[in-house]
């Protein structure tokens, strides 16, 4: 049912997808499908183009974000995505995230812009490292459900980082205002 973003954009499914190539593909497809191209066309055709343009935009959005990109690869391999059924995060990760939360609360309280920037940098480095580990792991799994399932904890970690990024962005906004 779910439309695999790699298929929609006609790209090879891999975690370390070439984002520049994906962007070019998104543009080419948009050129063919954007509602602007269907002005004055019959209603059915307009509707169809609209839905496909939406799909193409959603695919591009999904590929840009490592979390949704990983989820797309899992789903394509037949791994059911249900956060509640997934393995619980390790105590070590939970502990680390809690400490990060506290640190964030502290720099937020002190309105410490430099501290916040450092924290953001650390987060981005952490995400980069995780992605660098995941790329070969996804490639090695070759779409096999059992081997993909073994990656769930790492993908879970990516999600934790994502949520933390959101809290970080909110703090950044607060400090900028």
């Amino acid at each position: 049912m779910t439309h695999d973003p790699f298929t929609v954009l006609g790209l090879e499914p891999r975690f370390d997808v070439d984002l520049a190539a994906a962007e070019v593909r998104h543009r080419e497809l948009s050129r063919a499908l954007h509602p602007d191209r269907y002005q004055g066309k019959p209603a059915a055709e307009r509707r169809m183009a609209l839905e496909r343009a939406i799909e193409v935009n959603a695919a591009w959005r999904a590929l840009r974000d490592p979390v949704t990109r990983a989820e797309a690869l899992l789903a394509a391999g037949g791994v059911e995505l249900d956060e509640r059924a997934e393995p619980k995060a390790s105590p070590a990760l939970l502990m680390e995230m809690m400490e990060l939360q506290e640190e964030l609360a502290e720099v937020r309280g002190k309105r410490d812009a430099a501290g916040l920037r450092r924290l953001g940098e650390a987060l981005r480095t952490r995400e980069r490292e995780l992605c660098a580990r995941l790329a070969p792991a996804f490639a090695a799994a070759r779409g096999d459900a059992a081997r993909l399932r073994a990656l769930l904890p790492a993908v879970g970690e990516l999600r934790y980082l994502r949520r933390f990024f959101e809290a970080y962005a909110a703090a950044e906004e607060e400090l900028a205002a």
Binding site: L29, L33, G40, K41
Partner: protein, 657 residues
């Protein structure tokens, strides 16, 4: 009046672009491949967005209306754009001004601001339609026949404000081809004219609204990276700040009448303009109770007053840069748009904020309308710039209210449009047949702090035990930035009826009624208008289908081709007859006969776009062709941890039997 001019045998209808501004409006068109502003008989292009209503129901728009404002402050409506899509108790109604607001007598009436003018009640949509009608007339004077319009809106306009603008266009008898974001329009005109590539920021501070847009220009592609702004921030607020000070000089600070307020605001604006070129200005002002006084205003004093207003733009700019994931130093240029960017303080502020001198080779008054004209030309298919592609974004996050009043985001701000999302909900009462969904727009965590868009009520859910019915709700945001919602029960596949109750603005029926009122002969003309509209759609389909037959007949088998040609012939006959219902029926039949073929043709277009010359890849892509039904963008309902799906609804509508 109000009729679409369609079958003018003399002049082919030509599309126009309209900048419907808070202070000034402008209509433009493409002539000989270049966009030009349309001027009135005095050679003026800018039409002040002022509307005067006289006691006999006569409407005057523009410069002449502005001249009436001093003597008739209550009957002359200015800056109506600030009221578009807003509710009766909006803070804007409490700001310094001269409009006589009518208190709503029912919750339904409270969905829109109502103005009392000459004993009549008017909505901002109707006043805007009067401005648009004037612009349409100007265009018709020059071009005879107008064939559709692109109307610009502030990028930061929400769904209600956009819908109101579109309603105004309809009411003015215009076919609204597209709502185009003002900064994007400016970038389009500038980028095509200067053949520029790179990352640009468009800083648009007009009379009533502020937008910041970061976009990438790349060989005809205009890709918006992020946008932000404030739809109630502009030169008007500077005038109010200074006007308040002037009222004190006049000894009229408490409860001044509309004449006095008008005078103070006009004097403030004149002073503001003068201080753009001068350090000091002396104003001769009347005093309450007789006599007059001379007030001297210096540029420094004005700057002290406008600083807090201008600084609010900085917050939005920094956020837009963050959302685009770039530092100001990565920009290749900053474009200034809007009359209020002439204020020296604003220029200085923008320069400091972005660390560079803004580009000067741009006409801040006309560039938006010129961009709209280019887009209109492209949409009408008359434009030659086939490589142009505008990729714009949703300015404010869309969310649904969940249990506990939290707004769960379904589409984040700065998502490229058109965009879609899909969520699955379950019923939580046995035999529940109704379901209500509250959609909000904004960035705040609680739904109550966001802007309420609409409540959607689903009816006719097949009665099942709690948790069994699965409702799949599809949200679409189209290229105008407007939201539509569809719902389907998954197990039975039944499409649900969705009743929309917009939180702000006019309902479809209200707009219809206004349209009818605008037509002298009521019903009869209404029928004629409907027939004319159907005929246009039919002609469009005939041309498109014949073109498709010429290009892609190979994608049809013999019996399909016969069916298409049959439907084509029947529609041709129906157009010549005089019934809107018949034309519609034949349109639907042709629609049906061509549906699958349209899908195949689209796949071919996609394959060509992807592959260019690589033919083997074309086939691979065509192989990916899927059914229409599945082509909806998907947004997996991802619930917050711990929440169960059944908690996510906003309450049953109590229709369980």
């Amino acid at each position: 009046m109000g009729l679409l001019e369609i079958f003018d045998p003399v002049a082919a209808p030509r599309p126009i672009g309209i900048d419907l501004g808070t202070t000034n409006s402008l209509v433009a068109r493409v002539r000989d491949g270049a966009p030009v502003a349309i001027r009135d008989c005095d050679g003026e292009a800018l039409v002040p967005s002022a509307v005067y209503y006289d006691e006999r129901g006569q409407v005057i728009v523009g410069r002449e209306a502005l001249r009436m404002a001093q003597a008739h402050p209550r009957e002359t409506i200015v800056s109506v754009k600030r009221l578009m899509g807003r509710g009766a108790s909006d803070p804007e109604t409490a700001r310094l001004g001269t409009i006589d607001f009518a208190a709503p007598t029912s919750p339904d009436e409270a969905r829109t601001v109502r103005l009392r003018v000459q004993g009549r009640i008017l909505t901002p949509v109707e006043v805007s339609a009067d401005i648009l009608r004037r612009l349409r007339e100007l265009a018709e004077d020059e071009m005879r026949s107008v064939g559709g319009a692109v109307i610009t809106v502030p990028a930061y306009f929400d769904d209600a404000q956009r819908q109101a603008t579109k309603d105004a266009g309809r009411l003015a008898g215009l076919e609204v081809l597209r709502l185009l974001n003002e900064p994007t329009a400016a970038a389009l005109a500038y980028g095509l004219d200067q053949k520029k590539n790179g990352l640009f920021a468009v800083y648009d501070l007009g009379g009533g609204t502020f937008d910041i847009t970061i976009l990438l220009l790349d060989d005809g592609v205009f890709q918006v990276r992020s946008t932000g702004g404030d739809s109630a921030l502009g030169g008007d607020d500077m005038d109010r700040a200074l006007g308040q000070v002037l009222l004190e000089h006049m000894g009229a600070a408490d409860d001044p009448g509309p004449e006095v307020v008008r005078l103070a605001l006009d004097a403030a604006r004149r002073a503001k303009h003068a201080l753009t070129d001068r350090e000091e200005v002396a104003l001769e002002l009347p005093r309450v109770g007789g006599g007059s006084t001379t007030a001297t205003v210096t540029r420094a004093e004005l700057e002290r007053l406008v600083a807090p207003i201008v600084e609010r733009t900085g917050v939005a700019c920094r956020r837009a840069l963050r959302d685009a994931g770039i530092e100001a130093s990565a920009l290749d240029g900053v474009l200034l748009v809007g009359g209020a960017t002439r204020v020296p303080f604003v220029r200085r502020y923008v320069r400091d904020l972005f660390g560079r001198e803004p580009l000067a080779d741009i006409d801040p008054d006309q560039v938006v309308a010129l961009g709209a004209a280019i887009q209109a030309d492209l949409l009408a298919g008359t434009g030659s710039t086939g490589e142009v592609l505008l990729l714009d974004v949703l300015p404010l996050s869309l969310g649904i209210e969940t249990m506990g009043g939290v707004a769960e985001k379904i589409l984040p701000r700065n998502t490229t449009i058109p965009a879609g999302a899909r969520q699955v909900f379950t019923t939580y009462a046995d035999q529940q047949t109704g379901f209500e969904l509250h959609v909000v727009q904004g960035e705040r965590e609680l739904a109550a702090d966001c802007r309420s868009l609409a409540r959607f009520t689903l009816r006719g859910i097949p009665p099942m035990p709690a948790g069994m019915a699965r409702l799949e709700i599809t949200f679409h945001v189209d290229a105008d930035g407007l939201l539509t919602v569809k719902a389907r029960e998954v197990t039975t596949g039944i499409e649900q009826e969705v009743l929309v109750k917009p939180s702000y603005g006019l309902s479809d029926e209200e707009v219809e009624r206004m349209l009818l009122d605008a037509i002298d002969h009521g019903e009869e003309d209404f029928e004629r208008r409907k027939l004319a509209e159907r005929r246009v759609e039919a002609e469009r389909m005939l041309i498109a289908t014949r073109g498709a037959l010429a290009a892609d007949a190979d994608l049809l088998d013999a019996s399909e081709q016969k069916a298409v040609e049959g439907a084509l012939a029947e529609l041709t006959v129906a157009v010549a007859a005089g019934s809107a219902t018949l034309v519609q029926a034949k349109i639907d039949a042709l629609d049906d006969a061509t549906k699958e073929w349209a899908g195949r043709r689209m796949d071919r277009a996609i394959a060509r776009a992807i592959a260019g010359k690589q033919l083997d890849e074309v086939d691979a892509t065509v192989a990916h062709a899927r059914g229409v039904d599945e082509q909806v963008a998907e947004h997996q309902a991802r619930l917050p941890p711990g929440a169960s799906p059944s908690q996510t609804g906003t309450g049953p509508t109590g229709e369980g039997s």
